[in-house]
């Protein structure tokens, strides 16, 4: 089975977000970039699929700058076989323009399944899976917390409000992965060493103009300063009064 895992390089979740001088993008000063946490579930799932089948190929596909090879090597260190990096200036790219480039490459690679994390923790648009699937004219399952693939048939469970729903479909398909689907393995020292020798094909691509344009990025409105109403259970009365009379939330 040929599996493509989409991986994105993102600012880590510790980042204290500051707006850059252009008023629309993230100020990269001091930002630490990492492999998108949700993509780890996708990589792990791909590796488990390959291990269960006894054979197969796991290809890491990323769109971005050369810096992204660091995150791709992490995925290779976990056990993926090779990588494809679509070199593009994605600073103002949106789901639509990136999906276009990814779809073209995926058609060339012709995998059985495309996996990715359910969202990237920078834009949180949660859209690439379904958008890309539509461009490929494939089925898509999002927020998968359980996945079974046998003889080309897919049975998955996805998270919904108040529970889960069961989805049935068949390959080829796009699946977006949610926390709880599996427990991502750590790269071993051996894996890290081997990753250095695994091939990453670099291809320059030109993105179509984005359909969605950020015209400004702002900090959330500053919260008014709060107050400690007291200590211990004796403070409860003051709290209840504040919630009722000041905040008027009860």
């Amino acid at each position: 089975m040929k599996i493509v895992v989409l991986v994105k390089r993102v600012p880590d979740t510790e980042t204290k977000v500051k707006v850059a001088g252009d008023g629309k993008t993230l100020d990269p000063t001091g930002v630490n970039y990492v492999l998108n946490p949700y993509d780890e579930f996708a990589i792990e799932e791909a590796l488990q699929m390959k291990e269960k089948a006894g054979s197969g190929e796991v290809i890491i596909l990323t769109l971005g700058s050369k810096d992204a090879t660091k995150e791709m090597r992490t995925a290779l260190a976990m056990g993926a076989d090779s990588g494809v990096l679509l070199l593009a200036d994605a600073s103002f790219a949106d789901t639509a323009s990136v999906a276009g480039a990814l779809a073209a490459k995926i058609k060339e690679l012709a995998p059985d399944v495309v996996l990715m994390g359910k969202q990237a923790v920078d834009d949180d648009n949660t859209a690439m899976g379904p958008y890309l699937a539509q461009k490929l004219d494939w089925p898509c399952v999002t927020i998968a917390v359980k996945l079974e693939i046998a003889d080309g048939k897919v049975t998955a469970e996805r998270e919904i409000e108040g529970g889960r729903e069961k989805i049935e479909t068949s390959l080829p398909a796009v699946i977006t992965c949610q926390k709880g689907l599996n427990t991502p393995r750590y790269a071993s020292m051996k894996g890290i060493m081997m990753a250095k020798k695994k091939p990453i094909e670099e291809v320059s691509v030109e993105l179509a103009a984005p359909k969605t344009r950020v015209i400004a990025m702002e900090m959330p409105p500053a919260r008014a300063e709060g107050k400690i109403v007291g200590e211990g259970p004796d403070a409860v009365d003051a709290l209840v009064k504040a919630l009722k009379d000041e905040a008027k939330v009860i």
Binding site: G100, Q134, M217, G232, L243, I250
Partner: protein, 346 residues
């Protein structure tokens, strides 16, 4: 009236998705379409909120709001009251089981001409359906929007990024497809009754469908849709102490939330996790108990209208975002709080 630029992308469109190509140019009529989600035979509250906002947007664009519903619901008739001039109602086999791809093609078929915006609630279903609709219409998509408006006929919206650590204001060149965050927009009645029209858009054969619903044990209110959340962290010391959280939540009619630490420790299900790798919530009231307030947790709840923190440590970062705080032992404070609220609220 204004001319909307082409929705066609410069990429080649695969022949098999020919059902989803939009027109080259069309005169904007200011219409807004809103997909409404039906659960257990009822249009959900978040969809009524989206519809009300869609109506407000259509008014400022000089057009009408349309609702699109698949399947039967006992409050379909209410959609007119919440702003839908026309309800496009798809019933029968095509609507029987939810299918991301089939429903998206259907919605795109209905909205490929004459609509400035296509909206729906940012639920689990909405967030996978709407981007697919956007791909069908070859346009952009904005998730989890918290404000949307039109100026001079141009729609723009605000949405949280970096788990709400910042907000992006954006425009879309083409039909504005977006999901609206639940619990942010007011569901308001406009009075006029709408027309319910049977619709049979081109949907094609479903590639993926929902075959079964598996409800959680004691199907609880989801944190992402709740007005009030009572959330617990490591300060609760163990899963056996959660009845204290649940007791307070019950008195307030609240959903229960959790920090990443307790979810990772296996004390609480992931569906309750609030934070950057959990859910981002903005309820009317968020009560954080025994939660220190890691930057990722704050990212997930700092847009809450009112935040209360109960923690033993006066230096806990959570107190920096809390409107009201009690420094104290949760095991002493929470039972008293629950009792007092029970007496007040009944």
């Amino acid at each position: 009236m204004r001319i909307i630029p082409t929705n066609r992308s410069t990429q080649s469109i695969p022949a098999s998705s020919a059902i989803c190509a939009g027109p080259e140019e069309y005169e904007s009529m200011g219409n807004v379409a809103v997909y409404v989600e039906i659960r257990a035979g009822k249009v959900i509250k978040a969809s009524l909120e989206a519809l009300s906002e869609g109506k407000r947007l259509a008014d400022s664009l000089g057009g009408e709001a349309h609702a699109i519903a698949f399947g039967d619901a006992d409050n379909i008739g209410d959609l007119g009251k919440f702003g839908a001039g026309t309800v496009h109602h798809i019933t029968g086999d095509a609507a029987a089981k939810f299918s991301q791809d089939a429903f998206a093609r259907g919605i795109a078929d209905l909205t490929k001409e004459g609509f400035d915006a296509v909206l729906c609630a940012a639920t689990s279903q909405g967030k996978e359906l709407a981007p697919r609709v956007a791909a069908c219409l070859d346009t952009g998509y904005a998730a989890d929007v918290t404000a949307i408006s039109a100026e001079g006929g141009k729609v723009s919206a605000k949405r949280p990024v970096f788990a709400g650590k910042a907000f992006a204001k954006l425009e879309i060149d083409g039909t504005f497809v977006a999901t609206l965050r639940p619990n942010v927009f007011a569901a308001s009645e406009h009075g006029a009754a709408g027309t319910v029209a049977a619709a049979s858009p081109a949907m094609g054969e479903a590639k993926a469908s929902v075959t079964e619903l598996l409800k959680a044990e004691n199907a609880k209110l989801d944190v992402a849709e709740a007005d009030v959340i009572v959330s617990g962290g490591r300060g609760l010391k163990g899963p056996e102490n959660w009845n204290m959280i649940e007791g307070l939540a019950e008195v307030l009619g609240a959903a229960t939330g959790a920090s990443r630490a307790v979810v990772d420790a296996g004390w609480r299900p992931h569906s309750e996790q609030v934070g950057q790798t959990g859910k981002t919530v903005a309820p009317k009231l968020y009560i954080a108990i025994g939660i220190s307030g890691a930057i990722q947790h704050l990212a997930g709840m700092s847009s809450s209208k009112c935040i209360v923190a109960i923690n033993k440590d006066p230096q806990a970062p959570i107190f920096k975002v809390a409107d009201f705080g009690i420094v104290g032992d949760a095991f002493e404070v929470v039972p008293v709080l629950t009792e007092k609220l029970k007496a007040l609220l009944g």
